[in-house]
Amino acid sequence: MLESDILIENVNRIASLHSERLFAKLLFAQRGAINITYGGLIERAGRYVSMYHEHGVRPEEVVVIVHNDIEQTIYAFVGATMYGAIPSIFAHPSVKISPKEYTKTLALLLSVSRTRFLVAYRELHDQLKGCIPADSVDLMLSEDVLAHSAAPALPTANPDKIVLLQHSSGTTGLKKGVALSNSSVINQLRNYASTLQLCQCDRIASWLPLYHDMGLIACFLLPLATGIPLVLMSPFDWIADPMMLFRAIHKEKCTLCWMPNFAYNFLAARVSETDLADVDLTSMRAFINCAEPISADSHQLFCERFRGNGVREDMLCTCYAMAENTFAVTQGGILDPVKIETLDATAVRNRKEAIPANCRTAVCQTVISSGRAIPNNQVRIIDDCGNELPERYIGEIAIKSDSMLNEYYNRPDLTSQGIKNGWYRSGDLGYLADGDLFVLGRIKDLIIVAGKNIYPQDIEEIVSGIEGIYPGRVVAFGIYDETIGTEEVVILAETVVERAKHLEIKLAIAKAVREQLECVANDIVLLPHMWLIKSSSGKLSRPGNREKYLSELRAS
């Protein structure tokens, strides 16, 4: 397993030894299932190699892949890796986003990736026509790939060369590509496989999109390079039919599944008793909660709801991961149960200390461990000046590993800001206790909705531009909602417009935010001028106004 330091060589090796071995079973709501063998994968991906060659893609150039079909996304990605190009998967437009906004983001992405090569499908091609200048994009249609015959992989490669780009979320104005080398990716897969005690009897079930690190690394490259079978479905099919995941686990006897926190609540609430009757989940080793703040309540809810189907507490695992480290930094729950601590909430807030407390005598908060650092990964907690803090002191989480990003693609300024002396500063807050990492929140005011990062400044800028709103007098923040297991988006904006027009303005805000950020605002409050408060630095305070909203507007 994972003999070579080059990603694609591991895949080629499996294909040459066991051409008929199953790489993935793709499940579709409308088309049934498709099995892809390693031999079939290399053949189909080889057609993309030939298409890339014909279009004049040069090795080490970025190929952006935007597709509504997972099967073609996989072939295009593997083909790019075989060719020595740098694949980068980007979300395809959903019904939510306006075509104009999508085109703008895509054009920006191509420009930060310094490429014009785009793999897409006919419908997107028609949509883009005329929107993006013809000379800035060379569009390759997956419909045309069948006309090509398969070409073999080009000889590669240097383990230090970039193998793929992951698009770490950034504010809209600042998309950045996380560039990962072959050795970073392979190191991550080796480190993580050993932590998971991955073996040939494992089978991974996933509904995660491939444009997200958890979907791309844990639920695509890990099985691809190790030969462990994958059962994959589209997130859109899963959302419409959540039972699809459990039916897949039952039928294919899957053992591993990664999901963001909201999915635990979503499944517990949305799956009906009748559908569950004959479903057996006892084959599972681990449901791994990752990609947004983890709630112990969500785990309990999930466990109690599906106990009758074989879900046990010890299956519920946790993970702390980020695209900048390829994926996982810590993992909990594989060998020992995940630790849960009850802390004195006052000490957390006032002294930045994580002191275990008794709920009968103090105001408490419950936190769940994200586990221990995986091999060749180090975690430190640092203060504002970058000095290391002792155990149980709360500060910024910094990491160092052998699977870190090479660079933010073509952004040396951001690279040197993010990594200091080999340590990457995550922007997340947490503490260490006896080797376990507990993640408490974020330093920056990032909002995470169902695993998707949303930057409040993006919302604020959009809302500021809406007629009737005081420009610059807008604050957006997230509030964790325990019933849905993820954050709600709240927007506060000042206006002097008469009350009769408020609804109209709120609807204009909701529409603009949805179309430009693919995000739904759960609450929008229009306020009189000077309601919003500023921090000591003179800027509108997100945490301050969040507190004011909770005490004055939400409480009533």
Binding site: A29, Q30, V95, K96, D237, I239, A240, D241, P242, M243, M244, F266, R270, A450, I484, L503, K506, L507, I509, A510, K511, A512, V513, R514, E515, V520, A521, N522, D523, I524, V525
Partner: protein
């Protein structure tokens, strides 16, 4: 279209459906108002866009479908396409149901 939004078996199909259009619309208004914190039931018109407007997200869509099916004892897929575009307002949800119910009811 999707397994989950399957049509009902012919035998269990409820042909009566909801009786009073305005009462049904009122129920949906209350449902939508409970999902979004910034709009009142009285502010939602039958033609107000629910999803393309940014009022509700795709998770609320699933809940809305479940709610309609449970409340009115029917399968939406028997009446219309079940997706964000085809069920984007109260009238888009109710019109096909009432049109069909009217057609069926007198004969049965």
């Amino acid at each position: 279209m999707r397994a989950w939004f399957r049509k009902s078996d012919p035998i269990t199909k409820n042909i009566n459906g909801p009786v009073d259009y305005e009462a049904a619309a009122q129920k949906l208004r209350s449902f939508v108002a409970a999902k979004s914190k910034f709009i009142e039931a009285s502010e939602i018109a039958n033609e107000t866009k629910l999803f393309s407007s940014g009022l509700l997200d795709s998770l609320a869509f699933i809940e809305l479908v479940l709610y309609v099916e449970k409340e009115f004892h029917l399968k939406l897929a028997d009446f219309t396409e079940v997706n964000l575009n085809s069920l984007d307002s109260i009238e888009q949800i109710l019109d096909p149901i009432f049109k069909r119910s009217r057609n069926i009811s007198p004969a049965s």
